[in-house]
Symmetry: C2
């Protein structure tokens, strides 16, 4: 069932009310989109019992009116945070929540200066983000499309991998293919890493040319209908030496174990642990230098985090990546990543591209 | 003359020392690149008399060692800001600067918790950004290349504007052309707006098809060698009606007046005012809903801001955009934007594409 934007805001107000918070200020564009449908980049949203207000500058007034309904839109006078403070003071909201992970020290200073003692500022992280973790049916449908698109694009990119091609040529083609299929753009900077550069988990495409007998890591995601996908495939150009085969097998098994562990009610740390245990059996856990995955949705990195120490239990509607990898300065890197949705009774892999080692 | 990264850090330390600050913490990737050459996305840089230290997580250790020299690289233990705090405590730096516009309330909380009373936190915005405003010869050479590339791409995109084409097809082609010419990617989300959508200064490309007798706004920028460009051209598909011609002429004159006013020693507010005065003569100043321009460099929005009330005087080495525009919900929008570099004795327009009204 599709949750209406109005229902989302009502739910948020109910949660705030439970914590005796009169209104919530959010400066996160992803939260704005989730709560109101607005897709602009500048402003501040205040949600309260008394209604929803968006304050922005002249560039976004027309767009705001086009995209939002049931939201009062005000144009800032002078600085944004001065205007927000003035609005809050006038609206007589007493206890106003803000996200300490998103509001800068300077912004809070401006807000406090404008409201004086009339507003009590309550630090409260993740109020909207917690709602966003549980995707509804319409969101899941959109994410399925974004994931399928990413799978198609990664497969088309693998088709380009001939010795001599440059990393950035593959990168350009990947993003072109995404947009041709309707994506509004990449969900993050596309990673195309050949040979030793594959040892950098976050390598940006360079002018490096592909040679025979190199590993290639392709990590890409598309934004389609405002929702993100994220997929990684690793291929070997040539006949893979034994060590690469064994390492690939280890990562593939680690990923499979983590996907199997990712079910409703499982702790995120246990999903991460499942991948780590497999790699430890191969004595490769020391080369797994990041966490197993992250939530995915309107943003490419959302809650929940699938990492060590994350006690949070997976719930139906969560969408996460599962992406173990191993990296070695000598050999390069191997990472396999898919997106999965958690349902009450099953786990659905959203991305659809073969996972077996491809040797070109 | 090219300033070495080491010289940049030494200059920063001298400025800090003048203000009795022992070390500066910066979390801005653009500042990292400017001071150290590091291009990764996660970590914290501390510059002090005692040396430069970068603290990051496992994903960026190899890349950090590859890209930086003369910088100590430490891997965080647990949270980043906990590790930074611990490092500062151990290093006995007493007065540490941070940017209140970049550090969140939550980050400062973590830092304070880790350092206790051993560090006195000094709020100081723009220390590195002030250095970055004055581009050296090597930076200007790079920015010239980025600007020329943007001009070539906007002209090739204008060649695609045939009735029936969709906004996102033009957007995809623009970014593909950038990368083919060596750009690492767009400097911001490319704007392609047809007809009434051109009234949104920040329109994202949609599936809308181009029709005869519509305005088209193309606003794009490329990152080349880590430096940004930014250009806007507006064209009319068909024979422009009289009102469009007059408005275009007004914007073109406003842009010319602002470029003429942009010289070393001029106040940014006066450059903005020069554009506004021309539009006022046409009674169009009410439709100019944003500021005249912004600094450009490693980031697409830098200091100085070319806007009302900005008293800052332009200096040799500054690179700014000049981009007046008029927007009306009925007719669409017209914006013309170029990048200019301020020299002691002249102003150099970096972008090179014809500015006269093009009717297709």
């Amino acid at each position: 069932m599709k949750t209406s934007l109005h229902q989302r805001r009502r739910k948020l107000v109910a949660i705030l009310s439970d914590e005796k918070i009169d209104g919530l200020l959010t400066t996160s564009p992803a939260n704005w989109y989730y709560l109101t449908g607005f897709t602009g980049e500048s402003g501040a949203l205040i949600v309260s019992r008394k209604g929803t207000t968006f304050i922005t500058d002249g560039r976004f007034m027309v767009q705001g009116r086009d995209e939002m309904s049931g939201v009062r839109i005000l144009q800032q006078k002078g600085s944004l945070f001065g205007s927000v403070g003035q609005f809050l003071k006038d609206s007589k909201l007493r206890r106003v929540g803000f996200a300490p992970s998103q509001i800068t020290v300077g912004q809070l200073q401006s807000l406090r200066k404008a409201t004086g003692a009339s507003v009590h500022w309550v630090a409260t992280d993740g109020k909207v983000e917690t709602l966003r973790m549980r995707k509804d049916a319409a969101e899941l449908a959109q994410m399925r499309q974004a994931a399928i698109l990413a799978g198609e694009v990664v497969q088309s990119a693998i088709g380009l991998l001939k010795p001599g091609i440059r990393e950035f040529e593959v990168g350009a083609e990947i993003e072109y293919q995404m947009r041709k299929r309707g994506a509004s753009g990449p969900a993050f900077e596309t990673i195309v890493a050949f040979g030793e550069r594959a040892a950098l988990p976050h390598a940006r495409p360079t002018a490096k040319r592909l040679r025979k007998n190199e590993l290639v890591v392709l990590d890409l995601g598309a934004i389609l209908g405002h929702y993100c996908s994220d997929i990684t495939r690793t291929v070997y150009v040539g006949r893979a030496p034994k060590r690469v085969r064994i390492w690939y097998q280890a990562v593939l098994e680690a990923q499979g174990a983590a996907i199997a562990a990712a079910s409703s009610g499982a702790a995120c740390s246990d999903v991460d642990g499942a991948a780590r245990q497999v790699l430890a059996r191969y004595c490769l856990d020391g080369l797994f230098v990041h966490s197993t995955g992250h939530g995915l949705g309107i943003e490419v990195h959302e809650d929940p985090r699938v990492a060590r120490g994350q006690k949070k239990l997976l719930e139906p509607g969560n969408v996460i990546t599962i992406e173990p990898g191993v990296y070695s300065a000598g050999i390069g890197g191997i990472r396999i990543e898919d997106d999965v949705a958690i349902h009450a009774d099953r786990t659905e892999v959203l991305t659809r591209a073969p996972r077996d080692l491809i040797e070109l």
